[in-house]
């Protein structure tokens, strides 16, 4: 089976580990081989959390520079930082709602301009899907659903060997019951946002 490589980057607390888990469970449900790797040592202390998910017949659980088919960033500056994982054929999805790192507040860095950031990504990747995922998560009921909004968007691209139905079924069975409706709504909102992009 062909190999598809996905990188998800986020800031600690944005829920990308749950997003990765949902995708892996959906792969299991779909009989698609899946392996992933996470770096989350300091997640709760505001650091960057990166998941690499490899679908298909591969043994490796990490993804080298330039080899991601799909790059999803939960935070715009982190998407830009992870661009070394992309190549000219990569589809990039990014949330446009910034979470400036603390270094910006103490004057040790300047947050990139969002328009310039999108132009840069467009110039280097094959496609950019960019929208305010936090606003859609709020529409779904809670800012914490931003992870499911982005899962919806990445499924819409059709790049992953997963069906909408299997991912939704996984959201129903593997995320907290109290949040299921909200998560499904967030998924749909992200899916439509990617269609429009």
């Amino acid at each position: 089976m062909d190999i598809t490589r996905l990188i998800i980057v986020a800031v600690g607390g944005q829920g990308n580990l749950l997003a990765s888990r949902v995708l892996a469970e959906a792969a299991l449900l779909s009989d698609v081989p899946v392996r992933m790797s996470e770096i989350h040592g300091m997640a709760q202390r505001g650091g960057v959390v990166e998941s690499a998910i490899v679908f298909g017949d591969a043994e490796s659980t990490i993804i080298s520079d330039g080899e991601a088919d799909l790059l999803v960033g939960f935070e715009p500056s982190e998407t830009l930082r992870a661009l070394n994982k992309a190549n000219s054929k990569t589809t990039v999805i990014t949330n446009l709602s910034p979470l400036p790192p603390f270094t910006v507040a103490i004057g040790k860095g300047v947050y990139p301009d969002l328009n310039e950031l999108q132009d840069l990504i467009r110039a280097k990747a094959s496609k950019l899907i960019a929208f305010d995922a936090v606003a859609l998560a709020k529409d779904a009921g809670n800012v914490l659903a931003v992870n499911m909004v982005l899962v919806g968007a990445l499924i819409q691209t059709g790049i992953l060997p997963l069906t909408v139905e299997n991912v939704k079924e996984t959201i129903r069975t593997k995320t907290k019951k109290a949040f299921t409706d909200m998560n499904l709504k967030a998924f749909d909102l992200g899916f439509s946002a990617a269609e429009r992009a």
Partner: protein, 617 residues
């Protein structure tokens, strides 16, 4: 029921490597488990801790790795299947019992798990613990994948019982923190009560006894090597006369590379999963069928050196390479593209490198280093110490925990750290060797782990420094594990003792001991100043529960603050304490009400008293 206690052989589950390892231990019938938490091993013990609360599995968090291994050694020599897990540097702490436990051996199967951390994602060094196998004479097993890790743990227990020796199980971060589909196996019943048969001429390692035990150990090593020769975890894949010898995650990268380079008719792989003692006959045979050989292993040239020695013994002169300026480094971790490129280069295979985008026109992206949490009491303590020490020329040895992050500006509290407990003992050296004021920092769990002995040394040798114990009532960095100072009611568990740090420090003979509440800024500064002025060893215990932990226990109800119109933009708040709840908007300081917990430290230092509770607005 805990998902890893499921009795459904054949069921497929998505598991984290560390969950798969814990499941493997359950399938092997592990009855007794001990640890000191350390990334990347921590989730193994977390899962065993949880399972122990709903089964007859015994689990305990030890005060340090040496203690944990010795506790486990007692149980394993009472016949129980025992597991002791730790991060790689933890095995340094446990090295003393390890070396002689290797002589004595075990009667119940015992697995010692060491989680190595190539690239140092969360460690102070990237030592290669396979050498502990060679050093101690104990067998070493290394899985390449999450699924294999589970099965190999079961094998490790069987091997240990067969040899009557502990087995070292070595993982790396990319095994511990990878996730994959795992098929559950059957679980062996746990034997939770054993017995110890006295045999002092075997178990009491006086020189005359140990001389005999060393002979037995060498015999066991020879027996282990024989087993390694035919072990299912040392296997050959593929055909051809290009030979690749690899272990651990390198195997995955090599398999993927051979497929992508389309050289499966030319290259074969010898995967070593039982890596000490190395299977000499198997390797020599493999070498004989190769025109050249590449050894792919992260870390040190552990296999490479053995392979080259075997080739020499067999009179083989083929090219064998591994660690080399042109090929593989001892540094950091490998990745699939790197391994693919080096295989192609060494064997001369056609290769199209991945096209990495040219990012030279991307502006510098502001760094996002990990930071002490909003409202973290460590920040308050560091600020108070900094104020109390104003005008003093200081050296601040620090230690291992969240508070190590205090070395970052603007707090800049932390000048030296090498290992757990080193803050206290290095302070003894710094204070004798210099004329500077030495102030050191250690957390509650690290103090219990290995700070106490340093403090006893300081009292005995009459040193002159101030030790600040940052007591946040939990082992925070590794994910909120208990330690001897923790009230176990918080875990809804009974039957535990609790050690008071203050009483302990006083009982060690420290004459100047103060306990402060770091959120009370002025009082803390005054008390710390007194401690700093004291000639001799003084200890300040700064006590406030970890905010993350307090939130999870619902013991902390956040009462956020805001910056009112009284603000005159002095920015003492940002410049001196740098809490991540602050941000700038139109050049004015704001407080994120979602992050702010209401510790009130910034409100107490604002020269305009401009920071006020949000609800009174």
């Amino acid at each position: 029921m805990h998902k890893l206690l499921t009795e459904q052989p054949g069921e497929k589950m998505i598991l984290l490597g560390n969950e798969a390892i814990a499941r493997g231990a359950v399938e092997a019938g592990v009855a007794f488990a001990t640890t000191y938490p350390g990334t990347p091993s921590s989730e193994i013990s977390l899962n065993l801790f949880q399972m122990s609360q709903e089964s007859d599995l015994y689990f305990e968090y030890g005060t340090n790795e040496k203690v944990a291994l010795e506790v486990a050694a007692g149980a394993a020599n009472s016949g129980l299947r025992t597991m002791c897990m730790m991060k790689h540097v933890g095995l340094n702490v446990a090295a003393d019992p390890l070396m002689t436990l290797a002589y004595v051996g075990v009667t119940g199967g015992m697995v010692i798990l060491t989680a190595d951390d190539p690239f140092m994602f969360s460690s102070q060094n990237e030592q290669d613990n396979r050498y502990y196998g060679k050093l101690s004479g104990l067998p070493v097993l290394e899985p390449s994948s999450v699924e294999e890790a589970k099965n190999m743990i079961v094998y490790a227990f069987d091997l240990s019982e067969k040899l009557q020796k502990p087995v070292i199980f070595r993982t790396t971060t990319r095994i511990n923190h990878s996730t994959a589909v795992v098929t559950l196996g059957e679980t062996k019943p746990r034997v939770t009560k054993g017995d110890f048969t006295k045999d002092p001429f075997h178990y009491v390692t006086v020189p005359a006894v140990s001389r005999g035990l060393h002979v037995t150990l060498l015999e066991k090593m020879a027996e282990a090597e024989k087993i390694a020769e035919t072990c299912e975890y040392n296997f050959i894949n593929g055909e051809g006369n290009w030979g690749i010898i690899c272990n651990g995650v390198s195997y995955n990268y090599a398999v993927d590379a051979i497929k992508e380079l389309d050289i499966s008719d030319k290259a074969k792989i010898l995967r070593i999963g039982f890596s000490f003692p190395m299977p000499k006959a198997l390797i020599t045979d493999f070498l004989k069928g190769c025109e050249k050989v590449l050894v792919i292993e992260e870390g040190e040239p552990f296999m490479e050196e053995a392979v080259k020695a075997f080739a020499q013994d067999a009179g083989l002169t083929i090219s064998i390479k591994g660690k080399d300026d042109e090929l593989f480094s001892r540094l950091y971790e490998f990745n699939p593209a790197m391994v693919r490129e080096r295989i192609a280069k060494y064997f001369g295979a056609a290769y199209t490198p991945a096209v990495v985008p040219d990012l030279s026109d991307v502006p510098e992206i502001p760094q996002r280093p990990p930071n002490l949490c909003a409202g973290c009491s460590h920040r308050a303590t560091f600020y108070a110490v900094k104020k109390a020490a104003e005008g003093m020329d200081t050296i601040c040895p620090t230690d291992i925990g969240c508070y190590t992050l205090g070395f970052m500006p603007p707090l800049s509290m932390g000048d030296f750290v090498i290992c757990m407990g080193s803050s206290v003992s290095t302070s003894c050296g710094f204070s004798k060797a210099t004329d500077k004021k030495v102030i050191s920092f250690i957390g509650d769990s690290t103090f219990f782990h290995s700070g106490i002995t340093g403090l006893v040394n300081a009292v005995f040798n009459n040193h002159n420094f101030t030790l600040v114990i940052l007591d946040n009532s939990i082992t925070a960095m590794t994910g909120h594990q208990p330690n001897p100072g923790v009230n176990m009611d918080y875990f809804n568990l009974s039957g535990y003792g609790q050690v008071s740090i203050e009483e302990l420090v006083k009982s060690l003979g420290v004459k100047h001991v103060t306990t402060v509440k770091p959120y009370r800024v002025k009082k803390s500064i005054a008390a710390i100043k007194e401690a700093l002025d004291y000639q001799g060893v003084s200890v300040v215990i700064s006590q406030e529960m970890c905010t993350l932990y307090a939130k999870s226990l619902k013991k902390l109800k956040a009462r956020p603050f805001y910056v009112s119109d009284k603000c005159k933009n002095h920015r003492d708040c940002i410049n001196e304490i740098a809490c991540p709840a602050f941000y700038l908007e139109d050049e004015k300081v704001k407080i994120d009400p979602v992050s702010c917990v209401g510790c009130m430290v910034c409100a107490q230092i604002c020269p305009e008293n401009a920071i006020l509770p949000l609800k009174s607005e």
